[in-house]
Symmetry: C2
Subunit: 574 residues, 2 copies
Amino acid sequence: MSEQVKNVSSSEDRSNGRAPSSFPAVLTIAGSDCSGGAGIQADLKTFTALGCYGTSVITALTAQNTTGVQGVHGVPPEFLEKQVDSVVVDTPIKAIKTGMLFDAANVKSTVQALKRNYPKSSMPRIVIDPVSVSTSGHSLLDPTAIDIMTTELFPLAAIITPNIPEAQEFLSRTSNPYNIDSIHDMVKAAREISPGAAAVLIKGGHITATISDVDDLLHQHPDAQHNLDSIRGRNTEILKVGQEKLKQIVMDVLYQPANGLMNLFVRPYIESRSTHGTGCTLSAAIACFLARGEDVVSAVERATWYTHHGIASAFPVGKGNGPLNHMHLLTRLPTPRPTTHSPYPTTKYLIDSNPKLWNEYVEHRFTRMLGAGTLPTENFLRFMIADYHYLKYYARAYSLLAAKSHSFPAIQSALNPVTNILLEISTHRSLCAKFGVSAEEMERSSESAATLAYGCYLVDVGMRGDASLLLIALLACLLGYGEVGLYLKKEAEDPSSPVHLEGNPYREWIEDYSGEHYQGAVRSGLETIEKMAQLVPPSEGRLKEWREVWERCTWLERNFWDSAMDPKLEDRLR
Amino acid sequence: MSEQVKNVSSSEDRSNGRAPSSFPAVLTIAGSDCSGGAGIQADLKTFTALGCYGTSVITALTAQNTTGVQGVHGVPPEFLEKQVDSVVVDTPIKAIKTGMLFDAANVKSTVQALKRNYPKSSMPRIVIDPVSVSTSGHSLLDPTAIDIMTTELFPLAAIITPNIPEAQEFLSRTSNPYNIDSIHDMVKAAREISPGAAAVLIKGGHITATISDVDDLLHQHPDAQHNLDSIRGRNTEILKVGQEKLKQIVMDVLYQPANGLMNLFVRPYIESRSTHGTGCTLSAAIACFLARGEDVVSAVERATWYTHHGIASAFPVGKGNGPLNHMHLLTRLPTPRPTTHSPYPTTKYLIDSNPKLWNEYVEHRFTRMLGAGTLPTENFLRFMIADYHYLKYYARAYSLLAAKSHSFPAIQSALNPVTNILLEISTHRSLCAKFGVSAEEMERSSESAATLAYGCYLVDVGMRGDASLLLIALLACLLGYGEVGLYLKKEAEDPSSPVHLEGNPYREWIEDYSGEHYQGAVRSGLETIEKMAQLVPPSEGRLKEWREVWERCTWLERNFWDSAMDPKLEDRLR
């Protein structure tokens, strides 16, 4: 199996099995926490929240909840290795994190499995959360296990992330141990606990300090990079009014032996019981950002804030120390993304939001009589004259769209329809002339209330909303006529339907709207909506605005035909 | 432990440990798939994607990947029960799903743990995916295990979700078995395979059919509910142009013995290898929707579409049958949600997007000299006159906001600032009069280019964008002056700063902008931005528009002060 593995182990590998870089695959090797707040469960939630494809090798099962651990069931080392082999032989892993490894045998197995599967040059970036001492100071790993971890696992790591008790434990193994009681001690210890590791992050959650403590520290370490200005909030006094003054902070220290760089990540201390699984979550988040190709400093910075906001937005779970909220930055799209199977999901959503009204519009008595050729000339002309007036508003609304556009291509594509309308209006005139109505008569005729309502509504949408809202209003009309055209064409192909083209006085109208030229415009309208929804995905609230405009336009279209059928309906505009 | 459990088991329970209904807790009892596509990993990903708090009890570990199963390690039944106890004693579970239960002992343990922890009246809604026969027909559970599952576990379930081979297996245990080879057989079998279960969902992924097959079926079962009209796509011909005609469909059948209702869930068949874990995902998604209080029909409908779109949008993972995409409807907020620790995250994001520019504006030479009382009267007056002209645009832009508003309260709150400006303009006039400039002189004075640029920019943003974009532009000015006021006030309190109030000719100006009245307006501006961002969370693209407008306003503000300091700067607007 290991021979096979070598073929897919490189992070640059482009084999068939590769997940696209937009969802990099990440592996956790850790314990299972059935209650969902820590262990591989916290890791998988973090991977999913941060857009990575999560895989997980289990080292031990725990029966635990927010009040404590009720039982542990270790996984045999051979089975741990078997899981690692299964995962990495099949999927190119971009980053790995390790958490609780349970015992010396499983630490050894982890090292063996990693070394066997990856040559040194193509090892994925590894984050080691050296779970070995509990928050309360209780030892979770025996000394042999810690020995193997520090001597064999740490050298494989891109970063190790001990908390204070763990850093203390590693420090106790050096020639000059001391107590880590302050942020000054943390900075000192970061340089000393593991000279072999590529980067050491000491997590300072156990030590609170003040901003002036950090100032003192920076006085002694002027080269340390830090985020203190942002935490202090320079020039953001308005955001602090009514807020409690920032009294306590916590700080993580990152040290990179190779370049001697020290980074301090300061953030406000949150008084919270929702801290179960924060260490797991932080290291999982670091792995995600490393998998995305970020450098260690940026990955740690983003991961600490992800974890911080998770604590700040935690909801209560369990009776003890509950977990942080892994889902705090997730929202769900109200419509699915386009796929080859369903290329127009947003338009489909708009149409499906009121299928009855859409059907009343498409299969209107007017369109059915027009299709059957039984529509009286009088009604057709009433419609054509109304449409003549409507096209003025339509051209103006597209011009307004051009005025609201932000780039030359957007101005151009808003003005193209205006140019087309100005050209087509002569076709419109000549069609009406065939039915005995002159251009002068059309111009002199009075606008119906239905025309006025629809036309002014377009201009109002253009005035009050942004370009995308106006586009929805304009496209409802474009797409609607396209659907009517295809509906009549389909009916005309059905011998049992009264709709027909041969000898139909309105054949030209039907062929225009079902024809390739108009349907090309329909397809570009469909693509415009979907591109708009892809570029700036509408939230639930924004999609509701789109739906309201779409539905209102459909209703105005139906009224437009009502009004052409029966002048008495003119006043029944609701 | 079971006595304790009774106190938290009811779904109506309001104890301390309760997760809020916005994140209902869901439990999966199933196997672990280290490769991440199926088992508890698929379940946890689904729970997270659908906004539920996930917990997981592991029945067996597998070493597997997309090409097959390389090893299995069963979890001892006592430890399975221990995990269930740990989870449910601490967290009120809203819904449970079971997946692969591994063997007879673990099926029995599952039944025991559920019965022990929940009295019949307060059992959470349970979804049973009766994983017992593999897709290839290979048996995964021995006959005894299947016996216990059907006789003891099924009666606890809200719904069971067999695939065709499993339905076949259960049918073979009835008095009149037959082969399930068609959608007709599926409908028949749904009524017969488990008369004791509250609902049976036979998953039809193994059988493809056509729409006319479903038409035939509906002819025989006219009472069945179905979604065929939507699948057929009535009045959506425009969406089908250029698409392949829908040839094959798959169908799931839901039967509820208690009311005899039959539902058919039809969807397009997708030719795909990314089907690993679809059964796990479907049952996990049903559990999520049940946990949210939906009825069985609605939960199944939404879950089938979640799974369908997951297959349709799958990305390649592994060399065999890869998993579906669990993250297809997730997006990430570009800024965190407000918490008590950080109530104005969106405003903070806007300010932090260009802290240098913001600082140049707030701590401008103009404001510092004004604070120190050393600003020549001439420059102050130049500013005041420019501000006088600017306020006309500002009042017009707020009026435009009113014109773009959609409700009476919104119109009111847009017009309030206009009323205030019209009142305050007299204070403005009297302050200038003190410095020897009359109202007539102010009115006669010419507008500077800096004023024109800023004023017209506000009107342009109002013309091209929606109400929220205009609000961002208007609030940048409101909040900026608030920050300048607080900056000067803070400096004045620092004895080492040249800024002071006593004897400062501009004291009134400083006290106005740092005073309670103006700061009250600032706070309401802050809340407006955050409410706007909460109500319709801006996507990355929309937030980028906000940030551009905010930054442009900050830049225009800085130029405004540049121009007051030095008339030669007038032309240096960039």
